[in-house]
C-alpha cells in the first residue's frame, strides 16, 4: 500500500470515524432501526412527566379533540401544544384543559437566596399563569411570628424598585404566614419578582401559590398519574 498516495483517503476515513464518535452514529443507527419514532419522542419528552408529550399524543388519539385544548404544565418547560396542535381549530374556543404534572391545590416554590434576607421569586410570570395569588409564606423558624415583606422588581435601569410592602402575622401553632397577595396587582412579564424580609434567622423559605385549577370543580375526562384531561 502506497501510504503517500493514500494519505488523503486515510484522512477522510479517520475524519469519518471521528464524526461517528462525535455523533454516536452506531448507537443512533441502531435506535432508529429498532425504536419507532413515536416511542423515541415519548422517551425524549416523557409520558407523564417533564413535557409529557407521550400523554398528550395518547389523549389526543383517544379523545379526538374538536378544538385545541389548553395545556397547563406545572413543570416549567416550553409550551407543548405543538405536540397535538390542529391548525383547523385556530379560532375555536376550548373548554378542555390538559393539566400535566398536577401538584394538587397548592403549588410550592423554594425561593432563591440572593443575600441574607433578599430572595428571588424566579419565573414569576410562569407562576402567574398557574395561580392567581400567593397564598402563604413559610419559613422554618417557628419563633418568628411577625414578618415584613417588601416586594421589588427591576426597573429599566436594572435597579431594584420597591413595589409593595406587606406585614404578616402568624399564631404560634400555625405553620404558614397568610399572604393572600393577588398576582394581578403586579405588572408581570418576563421580569422576576424579589422580596426582602425583615428577618434572616431561618434556613428554608417557601412561597405557596393557590392553584388556579382545582380539579374537583371540573369533569375529569382522563387521568394517568398526575396528568389530567378536564372539562369545564
Amino acid at each position: 500500500m502506497n501510504l503517500k498516495k493514500n494519505f488523503p483517503l486515510l484522512i477522510i476515513i479517520f475524519s469519518f470515524l471521528y464524526l461517528f464518535e462525535k455523533t454516536d452514529f452506531i448507537k443512533n443507527l441502531i435506535n432508529t432501526h429498532n425504536i419507532n419514532e413515536e416511542k423515541r419522542i415519548e422517551n425524549l419528552y416523557g409520558f407523564c412527566g417533564g413535557e409529557s408529550v407521550g400523554y398528550l399524543r395518547h389523549v389526543n388519539n383517544k379523545l379526538n379533540f374538536q378544538s385545541n385544548p389548553k395545556i397547563i404544565n406545572y413543570e416549567h418547560t416550553p409550551q407543548n401544544l405543538w405536540a397535538i396542535y390542529n391548525s383547523k381549530y385556530t379560532n375555536s374556543k376550548s373548554n378542555i384543559f390538559i393539566l400535566l404534572n398536577y401538584p394538587g391545590s397548592e403549588i410550592n416554590l423554594d425561593l432563591d437566596k440572593i443575600s441574607e434576607n433578599f430572595f428571588e421569586i424566579k419565573d414569576t410570570y410562569f407562576y402567574s399563569t398557574l395561580s392567581n395569588q400567593i397564598k402563604y409564606l413559610y419559613i422554618d423558624n417557628q419563633n418568628v411570628n411577625k414578618l415584613k415583606i417588601d416586594f421589588y422588581e427591576l426597573d429599566k435601569n436594572n435597579k431594584f424598585k420597591k413595589i409593595k410592602t406587606l406585614e404578616l402575622i402568624r399564631n404560634k401553632n400555625e405553620k404558614y404566614f397568610l399572604v393572600n397577595q393577588e398576582l394581578s396587582q403586579f405588572n408581570l412579564n418576563e421580569k422576576n419578582l424579589f422580596i426582602r424580609l425583615n428577618e434572616d434567622n431561618f434556613s428554608e423559605i417557601k412561597m405557596i401559590f393557590q392553584n388556579r385549577f382545582l380539579i374537583d370543580q371540573f369533569k375529569i375526562l382522563n387521568q394517568y398519574k398526575n396528568c389530567y384531561v378536564i372539562k369545564k
Partner: protein, 428 residues
C-alpha cells in the same frame, strides 16, 4: 428499516429539487458562462423562490406538491437522462458519495435527538403544521404568533415532510441539513483543484461547525447557509462582473427576507456593501437596486394584503427616546460582554476578526476583503443596535438570542477564511 429507507429517499428528493431547471452539465447559458456545479445552487435559489410565492397563493400543499415533483422529474429526464453519454456522471460520483455519507450520518443524529428548541415549539413548528395540515397562507394569519417571523422555513419544513413516506416531523428539517451541507461543500470546493482534498476540507468544516442545536427547528441555519452562498456569489461577481451573479444574490436575499425578521438586516447590509464595490457597472448597480427594491415592496405588499404586522418585535420610538446615558452604558457593556463570550464559542467568529487584524493595512486593496470588512462592521453595528433599542430585559434577551445571531451571520465569513487559508498554503 423503513425510516432509514425514507431518509435515503428524501436525499434523492432533495437532489431532484436542485437538479433542475438548469443542468449542471450545461456550461453555457447563452452568453453567460458559469461554473457547472454552481447551477445546483442556482436551481436551489430559483426553486425556493418559486415555492415561496406558491406558498402565498390560496392553494393547499397536497394539491400541487406532486405536480412540482412531476415537473422536476421531467427536467431530470430532459437535462440528464437524454444526454447520458455526453454527461460525465462519474466525475460527480465521488462528490455525491461523500455528500450522501455526511448527510446520512447527521440525519441519523437528528432522527435520534429529535428535540425541538423553545422557539421552534412556539413559532416555527406550529406554523409548519398550518401548511402540512393543508391550510393556506391566509389561514396562517390567524395564528397569534405569526406576526413575529416570516414563514418560509416553516413552509419548507412542511413541504419536505409531506413528500416523505412516513411524514415524520423531523423529515422536513432534513432539508435544512441538505442546504447546510450544500453550502459547506460550496465553500470547500473552492480550496483545492483535486476533489479528494476538497472532501477533506468539507468533512473538517462539518466537524468544526456542526451542532444538533442548529437543526432543532431554528431558522438560523438557513440564514447561515444562504449567507455562505451569497458570499460565494459576491466573490464570483467581484472577479467576473457577470450580472447573473447579482440576480442570484437578489434571489438569495429575497429568501433571507422571508426566513426571519433579522433577515432584513442582512438584506440591507448586503445591499449597502454591494453598492460600495468599486467600478461596478452603472447598469448593474441600477438593475440590482431596482430588483432589491421590488422584492422589498413585494414583501410589504403581501404583508399588507394579509394584514400581517411588519414589525411585532419590541422596538418603539418612545422607548428609544427614553433611553438615558446610564442605561445605554449598561446595555453596551452587557452586549459587548455577551458578544465577546459567544464569539469565542464560534470558531468562524473568532478567526475572522483575527484575519482582518493581520490584513488591516491591505484590506482596502482587495474588493472582496473590503466587502467582508464592511459586512462585519455593519453586522456588529446591527447586533449592538438590535439590543440597544429593544424594549426588553437586556440580559435575558442576550442570553437567549445572541448565540444564534452570531451563528447565522458567521456564515458569510466562511469563504473569506477559506480563501485566506488557501492563500497561505499557496505562499508556502
Amino acid at each position: 428499516m423503513i425510516e432509514i429507507i425514507d431518509i435515503f429517499l428524501l436525499f434523492i428528493i432533495f437532489l431532484l429539487f436542485v437538479s433542475g431547471p438548469l443542468s449542471i452539465y450545461n456550461l453555457d447559458n447563452g452568453n453567460l458562462k458559469i461554473e457547472g456545479k454552481l447551477n445546483l445552487y442556482f436551481n436551489l435559489l430559483i426553486n425556493l423562490n418559486i415555492l415561496l410565492y406558491l406558498s402565498i397563493l390560496p392553494l393547499k400543499l397536497s394539491e400541487y406538491i406532486y405536480i412540482i415533483y412531476a415537473l422536476l422529474i421531467f427536467l431530470l429526464i430532459k437535462n440528464y437522462l437524454l444526454n447520458l453519454k455526453k454527461n460525465n456522471i462519474k466525475s460527480s460520483f465521488s462528490y455525491l458519495l461523500i455528500f450522501f455519507a455526511m448527510f446520512f450520518v447527521l440525519a441519523i443524529d437528528i432522527s435520534n435527538k429529535l428535540n425541538l428548541s423553545w422557539d421552534s415549539k412556539w413559532f416555527w413548528f406550529i406554523k409548519s403544521l398550518y401548511f402540512f395540515q393543508d391550510n393556506t397562507y391566509e389561514q396562517l394569519s390567524d395564528y397569534t404568533y405569526n406576526d413575529f417571523h416570516p414563514h418560509l422555513g416553516s413552509y419548507l419544513w412542511a413541504f419536505f415532510r409531506k413528500i416523505s413516506l412516513n411524514q415524520y416531523e423531523y423529515f422536513g428539517r432534513l432539508f435544512y441539513l441538505f442546504i447546510y451541507l450544500g453550502s459547506l461543500m460550496l465553500v470547500a470546493n473552492s480550496f483545492f483543484k483535486k476533489n479528494i482534498y476538497n472532501s477533506i476540507i468539507f468533512i473538517l468544516l462539518i466537524i468544526l461547525n456542526y451542532k444538533y442545536y442548529y437543526f432543532s427547528g431554528l431558522q438560523e441555519v438557513i440564514l447561515f447557509s444562504f449567507l455562505i452562498i451569497i458570499s460565494k456569489l459576491v466573490f464570483d461577481y467581484i472577479n467576473n462582473r457577470n450580472f447573473l451573479y447579482l440576480i442570484f444574490i437578489t434571489l438569495a436575499l429575497n429568501l433571507i427576507l422571508w426566513t426571519k425578521s433579522e433577515g432584513i438586516a442582512f438584506f440591507f447590509i448586503t445591499l449597502i456593501c454591494i453598492n460600495f464595490i468599486k467600478k461596478i457597472d452603472i447598469n448593474h448597480r441600477i438593475k440590482f437596486n431596482l430588483i432589491m427594491l421590488f422584492f422589498l415592496i413585494l414583501k410589504i405588499t403581501i404583508f399588507k394584503i394579509f394584514d400581517i404586522k411588519l414589525n411585532n418585535q419590541p422596538y418603539y420610538l418612545d422607548y428609544i427616546l427614553s433611553l438615558n446615558f446610564d442605561l445605554i452604558i449598561f446595555k453596551i457593556l452587557n452586549i459587548s460582554a455577551y458578544l465577546f463570550y459567544y464569539s469565542l464559542t464560534n470558531i468562524i467568529f473568532i478567526i475572522f476578526p483575527l484575519i482582518i487584524l493581520f490584513k488591516l493595512k491591505k484590506i482596502f486593496n482587495n474588493e472582496f476583503d473590503k466587502f467582508n470588512f464592511n459586512f462585519y462592521f455593519l453586522n456588529i453595528l446591527f447586533i449592538f443596535s438590535a439590543y440597544l433599542f429593544r424594549d426588553m430585559e437586556i440580559v435575558y434577551s442576550l442570553k437567549t438570542t445572541i448565540d444564534r445571531i452570531v451563528f447565522a451571520s458567521s456564515g458569510f465569513y466562511l469563504l473569506y477564511i477559506i480563501n485566506y487559508l488557501k492563500s497561505l498554503s499557496f505562499k508556502n
